[in-house]
């Protein structure tokens, strides 16, 4: 997908409408496209009413977990005498995911507006946008947008002349995947090492600087704008499947596919049509082999599963995976699944924060075994060991990074075991002691 952006006719461009439109980046351009009207409307509402509209709309977190946004906001009790904080998680680091980058590159003011609406709704006067360290271009545009919004009095001490204070700060991360985990993000913002915290306490009780905090994904916050403008019903109707998944979702598509890029479709869109029609199908002469539909943390799908999936929270789960962040990675028949999974494991081994034993040691161990198998030195015992390590790495640590490493390994071995078998070819492990004797 190049720019100027030509959306596919089956896309529903709500959030991605101005992708490729350089004018939308500026305050004037954003305003002339209807920008900041939602904020104006929001500031005239009671915060609880905003929360209710978002609740009604069925909007769910777009960062991966899919937690209902309105409910998350309602955990913030107004008037508890403490400062509240909104953190925007713009540390988009999940391999295969680059939708937030596009949102920030092309519509930085939308994020400023979304943050302001979210902050006001949860009773926060301060919002932090924690942006991935490698995102130099989005960082530039976000800084520009915040500067412009302050200068125009849209945010600041007297936001849009309403006397309400909303500060938005952009914070550049230092390059750690784990800082996209919400509690690690807060530690990082506070100037500590970006290690996830033990929960409870949950951020809504004790978050940033020990105060009630809500963390939302970029896409989630921006989605609040059209919801406020057009109403919850309008948003709810944008679903082809079930009432639990509403609205549109951005997908970043990469891998062995004809037209990689960022796409926006309504919830419940058939994944088969998405892959073959919207994204143009496989490269010439190749065949799809597997798809990772939501960033590398989710289980790998076989093509059978992928083609039967509906693109929403429940649809992917029904077909053995998860919607995740919407980072679609397509793998075709020219690739070795073992090599792909080994590479994914290496990523997690590199990014583990090293707090929990299972994660620190398990991710690295998994990587070493997978790479050995990939290089033709695997043994039949290795697969059992891998599955057992994966079991140890699941559900036992502070955050889900180690679970995320185990997931593709388990699904990969279960669904593509033949490829592992071919590389191992019945070799069994002989210990040094046995070999000498």
């Amino acid at each position: 997908m190049g720019y100027p952006h030509q959306p596919h006719q089956r896309e529903t461009t709500v959030l991605s409408r101005y992708f490729g439109d350089a004018e939308a980046r500026t305050l004037a351009g954003w305003k002339s496209r209807g920008g900041y009207q939602a904020l104006e409307k929001a500031l005239a509402m009671a915060p609880a009413d905003i929360v209710n509209v978002v609740k009604e709309s069925g909007l769910r977190g777009r960062g991966g977990a899919g937690f209902p946004t309105g409910m998350k906001w309602s955990f913030m009790k107004p008037g508890d005498g403490k400062p509240h904080y909104l953190c925007c998680n713009a540390d988009e680091s999940e391999p295969g995911t680059f939708k937030d980058r596009e949102l920030m590159r092309w519509t930085p003011h939308a994020l400023v507006e979304g943050c302001a609406i979210g902050a006001y709704a949860i009773g926060a006067e301060t919002a932090y946008i924690y942006i991935r360290g490698e995102f130099t271009e989005p960082l530039y545009w976000m800084n520009e947008a915040v500067k412009e919004a302050y200068a125009a009095g849209i945010i600041g001490k007297n936001a849009m002349g309403t006397g309400k204070r909303i500060d938005v700060h952009v914070h550049k991360g230092a390059g750690a995947y784990i800082c996209g985990e919400e509690t690690a993000l807060m530690n990082s913002l506070e100037g500590r090492r970006g290690n996830p915290r033990i929960k409870p306490p949950f951020p809504a009780v004790s978050g940033l600087f020990g105060m009630p905090t809500t963390i939302n994904n970029v896409e989630t916050l921006i989605a609040a704008i059209p919801i406020l403008m057009n109403g919850a019903d309008w948003y709810k109707k944008m679903s082809l499947s079930n009432p639990k998944s509403t609205g549109t979702k951005l997908y970043s598509v990469c891998g062995n596919i004809e037209r990689p890029g960022t796409y926006e479709v309504v919830m419940g869109f058939p994944f088969r049509d998405f892959l073959y029609d919207v994204c143009g199908g496989p490269l010439p002469g190749r065949k799809f082999k597997a798809v990772i539909p939501g960033g590398v943390s989710v289980p790998i799908q076989t093509m059978e599963e992928a083609e039967a999936s509906l693109m929403d929270y429940e649809g992917f789960v029904a077909q053995g995976s998860m919607l995740g962040s919407g980072g679609v990675i397509v793998i075709d028949d020219a690739q070795s699944m073992v090599a792909v999974i080994a590479r994914i494991a290496r990523f997690f081994a590199h990014e583990s924060c090293a707090q929990c034993t299972q994660c620190r040691e398990g991710t690295a161990w998994t990587t070493k075994i997978l790479e050995r198998i990939r290089d033709g030195q695997g043994t039949t015992e290795d697969l059992d060991t891998l599955l057992d390590i994966a079991e140890q790495m699941t559900g036992k640590t502070i955050c889900v990074l180690s679970d995320s490493c185990a997931t593709p390994v388990v699904s990969g071995i279960k669904k593509f075991g033949r490829e592992f078998g071919e590389l191992i070819q019945g070799r069994t492990y002989v210990s040094v002691i046995e070999a000498v004797a």
């Binding site: 750690a176 784990i178 090492r193 033990i198 081994a349 590199h350 990014e351 583990s352 924060c353 090293a354 707090q355 929990c356 034993t357 299972q358 620190r360 040691e361 398990g362 991710t363 690295a364 161990w365 070493k368 075994i369 050995r372 015992e381 060991t385 057992d388 390590i389 079991e391 140890q392 559900g395 036992k396 640590t397 502070i398 492990y429």
Partner: protein, 527 residues
């Protein structure tokens, strides 16, 4: 005083045993109360909770996942299982992972025998490893102070980091790098030179942080351990004196929430060699024809009694002597004084009222309570013609001219003071060689015990002084130091109500001391 806040009590079941604990207690601490030790590494009752080793995972009924018992507080009616298959498998997994990069060099590791990784692996771990890859290697590093770091053995529990951050308030250590490359690092230009830094060696559950002083000196199983008190300042930290073949080789802190929590300072810890002193008086001696000649205890005591009897006695005592010895001494003297070596005070800021104290002796408070005068001029009170009784004092730096004022000198000590013309010398045990009590600066009376044997014929100070009192016709029938203490408690109001039995091994405050609660609660809450 404000009314105590009513603490809600929670009843739960751990390993089939019912236990009732205050609300907010962790499962791990509650389990200890019913005699269940949940294996753990990163948790330490004196440090903030980290919850990172994942060793203390237990099965809580109805919970979807295993719970880290160090970071999970108790709930009413909870049913916790520590030793079922699910939690055992999880801990076995943690142990295997901790060992994949850990060298199996126990035979040359100082921690061997007191290593929690070793203990739990034998207890719950796999008999073999499935790890076939090369192990990670990092070179050992001098961390400054008394500490050396062996990263290969490190399990990243971060106890050391938390100690330096939260208790020493001197952030020197950090976790550097990520993933399995992670190791404990030192911030640029910083060293473990904090006066309390060596506690990280005790806190380290494995052999990653080692004491340079103790390095390769002894195996843990060769040591004899004696519960005692650090004699090196007036704080009175509770310690274990560890000996090998009758030589003190290490002192380590012993928990006492009223005095030192779980810690002791480096000065106290490393200052144990004097108790192994070599130039000892080993036999009673009397002056015959201008020279000191060995004699028997009976004759020595009799000779000393003869010198002292009917004379005005001035005592130069040592603040290292026990309450018992000082109490008996006080009955012999007309006047007595002592002096104390001084140094800089060095607090451990994370614990209230815990410091290496300026006065570097165990029983300054006891000596003053028992009527001795603290002075810089030790013999200032010595009258012309007095008999000088030197007890535990080496008289270093004392002018021979001042000594000449004494009509006679009797020495009761472990070493022979230089430049004395003693008439009688009675050898006594030093601090590590006898039993007794000392009174710390806050008036807490604490028992110390015998960690090594005194050389030659040297006897405990209380025994020698008891015999001397007897020989002088003053009533004396002491067979044990506890007898002396019982007499002290019955005659001195400050000690009223105390006895060896009630003192136990955590001590009690003097009747005259200000009462204070524990300074370090058993478990500190999560950060």
């Amino acid at each position: 005083m404000t009314a105590p806040v009513e603490t809600k009590m929670i009843t739960l079941t751990i390993e089939g045993r019912q236990v009732t604990v205050p609300e907010g207690t962790t499962i791990l601490e509650a389990a200890k109360q019913v005699g269940v030790l949940i294996p753990h590494y990163c948790y330490h009752p004196g440090l903030p909770v980290a919850g990172v080793c994942r060793m203390c995972l237990v099965d809580v009924e109805k919970a979807p996942k295993l719970a880290p018992s160090c970071a999970t507080t108790v709930a009413e009616g909870q049913v916790v299982t520590v030793h079922n298959e699910k939690s055992l498998e999880a801990r076995k997994g943690v142990l295997e992972m901790l060992l994949i990069n850990h060298p199996l060099d126990c035979p040359i590791c100082d921690q061997s025998g007191e290593c929690e990784l070793q203990d739990y692996t034998y207890q719950e771990g796999r008999e073999d490893s499935r790890y076939r890859e090369p192990k990670r290697f990092n070179p050992a590093e001098d961390f400054g102070g008394d500490v050396v770091y062996v990263p290969n053995r490190c399990i990243l529990c971060t106890r050391c980091v938390r100690f330096m951050d939260d208790l020493a308030h001197d952030p020197v250590l950090n976790v550097s790098e990520r993933g399995d490359r992670a190791l404990i690092g030192k911030f640029d230009g910083k060293d473990l030179t904090h006066p309390w830094a060596a506690n990280v060696v005790d806190l380290c559950p494995v052999g990653a942080l080692l004491s340079k002083d103790f390095l390769n000196k002894a195996r843990a199983w060769e040591l004899d351990r004696t519960a005692s008190i650090c004699p090196n300042c007036t704080q009175g930290c509770n310690v274990m004196m560890e000996t090998r073949e009758n030589q003190l080789v290490r002192m380590r802190p012993r928990p006492n929430e009223y005095v030192n929590a779980f810690f002791m300072c480096d000065y106290g810890r490393l200052n144990y060699r004097w108790m192994n002193e070599k130039d000892r008086v080993e036999q009673p001696m009397v002056r015959q024809g201008g020279a000191l000649a060995p004699t028997s205890w009976e004759r020595g005591i009799a000779a000393a009694a003869a010198v002292l009897k009917g004379k005005r006695v001035f005592v130069a005592a040592s603040p290292m002597l026990s309450n018992e010895a000082l109490f008996l001494l006080a009955q012999l003297m007309a006047a007595g004084s002592f002096r104390v070596t001084e140094g800089d005070e060095a607090p451990l800021p994370g614990i209230d009222d815990l410091a290496l104290r300026r006065e570097r002796a165990a029983n300054v408070n006891g000596a003053e309570t028992l009527g001795f005068t603290k002075t810089r001029d030790l013999l200032g009170g010595l009258g012309q013609g007095d008999v000088l009784l030197v007890a535990g004092e080496d008289l270093a730096g004392i002018d021979a001219g001042v000594l000449a004022k004494a009509s006679a000198i009797v020495v009761i000590g472990s070493v022979l003071p230089a430049a004395t013309n003693a008439a009688v010398v009675l050898p006594i045990a030093n601090f590590a060689e006898e039993e007794g009590t000392v009174t710390n600066l806050r008036g807490r009376v604490q028992r110390f015990s015998q960690a090594r044997q005194a050389p030659g014929e040297a006897r405990p100070s209380w025994l020698v002084l008891g015999d001397l009192l007897g020989a002088m016709g003053k009533q004396s029938s002491f067979f044990l130091p506890s007898d002396v203490f019982a007499r002290l408690a019955s005659t001195n109001k400050a000690f009223a109500g105390l006895s060896y039995d009630t003192l136990g091994f955590k001590g009690l405050p003097l009747a005259t001391a200000q009462a204070s609660g524990p300074k370090a609660p058993l478990a500190m809450g999560a950060r």
